[in-house]
Amino acid sequence: MPVETASIAAMYETALTIRRFEQRAIEQYRLGNIRGYLHPYLGEEAVAVGAVAALRPSDYIVSTHRGHGHAIAKGHEPRLMMAELLGKATGYCRGRGGSMHVSSLALRNLGANGVVAGGMPLAVGAAFAIHLRGDSDVVVSFCSDGAAANGALHESFNLAAIYHLPVIFVLENNNYAVSTPIRDTALVENLSERAAGYGMPGVTVDGNDALVVRAAMEKPLQRARAGEGPTLIECKTYRQGGHHVNDPGLYMPKDELERWRARDPVGILRQHLVDAGVAEAEIAQIDQRIEVLMDEAVQFAIDSPEPAVADFLAEISAA
């Protein structure tokens, strides 16, 4: 397989892993094994996959409440993530975090976040630590359109810009903050226009094609690694479903949903593979591998022990 084809195949595999992970998580939710808030990344896979494909392992990401896709793209193991979602002792955060706080410091994912835009200043700080150490790593700070009106986003944009920090702000414009469409809360056509106010470059790209997203990362990465500062990349995408697992999303017009489904990010990556000459049988092998991985992930999570209450009590009494 040529290098580029192999890289597309890897991206396809990651995107489908995210897709299947979310579907399995929803199943586990319906069974009552996962509780609380679960925000699926269905339909937005190309953003995480494309953005992270352009990174080195030592680069950081800072995620959001809709964070499973970011984590899987950054190399999190589905079984350890599923275990965290089930609140098990074997999860990334030993059951203390759950879906909204999945993180892995080892993989340099500083974590999902329960507060919209709340992680963005942390991303700027991680970039500051990189700058202080004189490293050339970058931080990708994910957010969605709901963050675009929040002060933490604006302060983060400005701080990253004035200190020329290595941050790439990847704004997943999926058109909604819960049920509120972005046209009700922003009067600009493209949210990337916000970048101009902070003296940083801003671009808007097709967020459903992972190859487009990956390509859009190139210049911002060069810029960041050269110490020239941040960039805002707005990825236009769509949530293929409600805000969280219990939201039927009735406010989303049917034709709008259909339009976006016709441009499904996993389907688009699959088509790229076909176009690159990869045989259906080979693609089917990938699909098969993921099914096995998911079966294992779910089983591992279910079989894993609950965190011990005694351990928890001992930990907090020391604090």
Binding site: L110, G118, E155
Partner: protein
């Protein structure tokens, strides 16, 4: 041993820690070029350069979060927020992000962040520049709270706070910056969670911290003239709190007065009183008395401000009341 000002002791602590560890940096409004509103960071820019001594725009949430993120990623930031009143703009980053990060990550991540700020009623700065808000941070699991009263403590506690792997709210008092005290030249740290008996006594235990320590000492001098021996315990750090020292003292004196500038309602004094009742109820020979700030925003007018925070007279009266004297305490 030299006699130096509280603000100089803080600067020495910052300098020593920045010399020791290249990952320590200072960031805040006007701290670099201007050297800070209270001149604590004066000269640091020249010594350590603009990568480690950084002026910020007026974006408290942003640069506090920057500190938290840098701490998670391995640095040791000292974020300065001009007034504790303005820390309110950064509460999400402190309470929801920094305080919980270690826990939420299942212990993977640590947040060695110090937030230096200053509070308290001072020179007629009115309601939005005079508050004592330590109770808010005291209430949040995951935060440490340090409030030194002397130059010696300021230096040793700031150094300990910078070396601590958890977020620390380090709250100075604006009326303490110009106070002087003996500070040894050597590199010492004062571990967090150790109260200091600033004056030994036998008749009554007075628990306090920050500026009120000075007023309590003055009150103790006055009471000594009348034959009352008050033990003054300066908590120095509120979280972790050295309850052992409080309990041990109360078991000897059988009386407790808690003094703080922060308003009485929902204040730390109530929590200390409850702890003593839980752990040393049988030692108490009389009511626990709290001498605290009144339940009001701090007024601008000087006489009104004076009435809003505990005075030496009120502390004396509180101690007498705890001894069973008939002087009423509000």
């Amino acid at each position: 041993m030299a006699k130096i000002k509280y603000r100089d002791a803080l600067r020495i602590a910052l300098t020593e820690e920045m010399e020791r560890d290249p990952l320590v940096f200072c960031i805040g409004e006007g701290i670099a070029e201007r050297g800070g509103s209270f001149r604590v960071t004066e000269g640091l820019l020249k010594r350590f350069g603009p990568t480690r001594v950084i002026d910020t725009p007026l974006a408290e949430a942003g640069f506090t979060g920057l500190g938290a993120g840098a701490a998670i990623a391995g640095a040791r930031p000292v974020v300065e927020i001009l007034f504790v009143d303005f820390v309110m703009l950064a509460m999400d980053q402190i309470v929801n992000q920094a305080a919980k990060y270690r826990f939420m990550s299942g212990g993977q991540g640590r947040v060695p962040l110090v937030i230096r700020t200053q509070g308290g009623a001072g020179e007629a700065l009115a309601a939005q520049h005079s508050q004592s808000l330590e109770g808010l941070f005291y209430h949040v699991p995951g935060l440490k709270v340090v409030m030194p009263s002397t130059p010696y403590d300021a230096k040793g506690l700031l150094k300990a706070s910078i070396r601590d792997d958890d977020p620390v709210m380090f709250i100075e008092h604006k009326l303490l910056y110009m106070t002087e005290g003996e500070v040894p030249d050597e590199d010492y740290v004062i571990p967090l969670g150790h109260a200091d008996v600033k004056r030994a006594g036998t008749d009554v235990t007075v628990v306090t911290y920050s500026l009120m320590t000075l007023r309590c000492l003055e009150a103790a001098d006055r009471l000594a003239e009348r034959g009352i021996s008050a033990e003054i315990i300066d908590l120095r750090s509120l979280v972790p709190m050295d309850t052992d020292t409080i309990i041990e003292s109360v078991r000897r004196t059988h009386r407790l007065v808690v003094v703080h500038e922060a308003v009485k309602r929902g204040g730390i004094g109530g929590d200390i009183a409850a702890t003593v009742v839980e752990q040393a109820f049988d030692s108490l020979a009389g009511p626990i008395i709290r001498v605290c700030g009144k339940n009001t925003p701090i007024p601008y007018n000087t006489s009104l401000q004076r009435a809003a925070v505990p005075s030496v007279d009120e502390i004396v009266a509180g101690i007498e009341a705890s001894m069973g004297a008939s002087i009423p305490v509000r």
